[in-house]
Symmetry: C2
Subunit: 411 residues, 2 copies
């Protein structure tokens, strides 16, 4: 896309009331717009990043057999009364005309369990897994972490349904691996640890995926040897004994929870009547698991962990464009023409490129380019016209290479 | 996908309180789940249809230069007070903790105008167009039209921004053509008419796209000769004179509004301070247009207009799968093996196919297949094993053809 057409622009200042690094940079670069505290709109560049993350998550969910659906935001209060979660403080509640109280989904275990109950009756209907990638709403008391903790946010939740605990346990391992794949593919694999956290009535622990991040709200203790971590909330001698870890070997670090997987057991299936009949005709409640990742939170975590003093830095897999093509030409000169030609070639080759075709000073263009954080910058200057070579600058490392048109297109 | 894995199933009965044909059929076929009146979740098959419609709309919006963004559902009340729309009856309102009243967006002119005001200052920043494809919320009094009029629904809204009326007028024509393309591609082109409806302060008429539909809430008068229609609400002698149409030539018909395009002029840019400076340094309000299509309403309109007594009928462009492969085999017999092989071949060729691999009676499978409405059914029976040919049944016409494996794969 030509940058002269992009309706957003970078700006020098972030909103005065914005305290988080991620939102400051994302607003300055024109990736998001702040509507109110904890409420952000995703502008074209930001939406491209978000969609890239969503695509990766969707692929991993499909690989483990997840079936995508989309549930309503407006909730049937009756279901939530059955599980004793209607009175929780986190709701945005409102009134349906001529139909009474409702609220906006902050999580969806109740409706998915109810939907499953419409289709499951026999052991032959199990197991299966269904997932949603949708906006959820939480009436947060504080909202100071930018897109890492919004009052509305995009969430992927996978739910699995099983005849027994052993089948849940096996699927839980598959989901764990899918989560590792997601974090690795979006560029957070090395700084993300599976972390033991508090369980429920049905399992001793749940597992979080925590990404090392100075702006994170959690504290974790990392065992480098075992490549796992323990949330401070559950760090007891009993847990250490369970995991065979010495307290002295642990490393304390701030982190942000980027995923959470949980064995729900029959917490929701029992009150909501989701049961099946086994081969002997005996009725049992369905055993469930749930698995969440917040794509909009991942955008924030990527900014918090990878951005530098010059601006955003995107890994290629999630970047809004692969290349930032920067022309140093003016008014249709040879440099502009060479840049136009390279842009056309890249576009024809289906390479995602943002083309800075504006007539601005080089310094201004480079500073903006650094702020946007596109992985590779291709500079077209006078030298390019003379030699046929382009300067290709790696945003993360600053490394500069000279490449020919053919080399650029071959990447 | 193997139908034995699909967690939804067809059912004999629709919810007792469901009066609309579209929701009755969609629920029976397992495409949607009714959460409450006017509130539906889209299950895997329904979501596939919805996503196909969204993909077509997105392509057409990108073709006319639309830049996609995603705005928050939660609204900043201050913006809506400036345009005198905060007191409207349609809102779902709620309270933000420690931040006062908010509501959920039922349309997004106010926030998009405010966002644009952050980036537009000069005539050089115009024109541009931005669009969103997101859930909107309306507190409807009655909700008896299934997914054609939901209390929450998916909506595509495009907004365009111009320096003057002439530029808006030119873009409006482009948007009109994009809309025609959308309705034609989703399979409603022949029964959809551009329809003159009431304008605002800035244009004499707005234009709706109305699809002929006995369940539609509108009444339109069609001029077959001019290939346009007039909404009953504006059918006056003056309008007829404007359009050069004789009243006696008109044909009355019920219809559903599937799209709406509107010249907003400065209705929103003036109160919200969206202005630009021209080349002479003079300040003007930006001239705007907006262009809406409801993808979830289109799902309903497709069902209302195309379904028959046996069930759903999907045009190929939006169908959840292209083929419904129905095996009449049992327990790994030769018929099952032949069906398995054809399924593998189709999957490898990236053909979207739902494979009914379940061990059920042929009559039951065919009735279910008719209800699901996938465009072509491929039947694998004993004869297929003997002759190497498969029966291919067209869902819409009932026409039966015999095709070889090569012919099926070549389609």
């Amino acid at each position: 896309m030509r940058q002269s057409q992009l309706f957003t622009k970078t700006r020098k200042l972030a909103p005065a009331d914005e305290v988080s690094k991620n939102a400051q940079l994302l607003v300055r670069a024109g990736f998001v717009h702040k509507e109110a505290a904890g409420i952000y709109s995703f502008l074209p560049l930001g939406l491209r990043v978000l969609n890239n993350i969503v695509r990766i998550i969707r692929e991993e969910m499909n690989t483990i057999g997840g079936q995508e659906l989309s549930m309503s935001a407006l909730q049937n209060a009756e279901l939530w009364k059955k599980t004793d979660r209607w009175e929780q403080d986190v709701w945005f509640k409102t009134e349906l005309k001529a139909a009474g109280e409702t609220g906006f989904g902050w999580t969806h275990e109740e409706p998915i369990t109810h939907i499953a109950s419409q289709y499951v009756s026999s052991y032959r209907d199990l197991p299966f897994a269904a997932y949603q990638i949708q906006t959820k709403f939480r009436n947060e008391e504080r909202a100071k972490s930018g897109v890492m903790r919004g009052r509305e946010f995009l969430m992927k939740d996978l739910y699995s349904f099983h005849a027994d605990q052993a089948d849940l346990d096996a699927f839980y391992e598959k989901a764990t691996q899918a989560y590792r794949n997601v974090f690795s593919r979006v560029g957070l694999g090395e700084r993300t640890f599976i972390t033991f956290a508090s369980g429920g009535a049905f399992s001793k622990y749940s597992h979080e995926f925590q990404t090392l991040c100075s702006a994170g709200e959690d504290t974790i203790y990392i065992s480098r040897e075992k490549n796992i971590a323990i949330n401070k909330e559950v760090l007891t001698d009993e847990v250490l004994a369970d995991l065979g870890i010495e307290r002295t070997s642990l490393e304390e670090a701030p982190a942000v929870e980027v995923g959470n997987i949980f064995k729900l057991g029959t917490r929701f299936s029992e009150p909501l009547g989701l049961s099946y009949t086994d081969a002997e005709g005996k009725k049992h409640p369905v055993v469930m698991g749930c698995y969440g990742i917040g794509p909009s939170r991942l955008v924030g975590a990527l900014v918090e962990t990878l951005a530098d003093e010059k601006g955003l830095v995107w890994p290629e897999a999630v970047a809004p464009f692969k290349y930032h093509l920067v022309s140093l030409g003016h008014d249709g000169d040879d440099v502009s023409k060479a840049a136009d030609t390279l842009y056309d070639d890249l576009t024809k080759a289906d390479v995602e490129v943002l083309y800075d075709d504006r007539d601005l000073r080089a310094g201004e263009k480079f500073a903006e380019s650094d702020l946007l954080g596109i992985p590779k910058r291709i500079v077209v200057g006078k030298e390019s016209v003379a030699t046929g070579e382009f300067e290709v600058v790696d945003r993360a490392t600053g490394k500069v290479e000279k490449k020919s048109r053919v080399e650029v297109l071959a990447q």
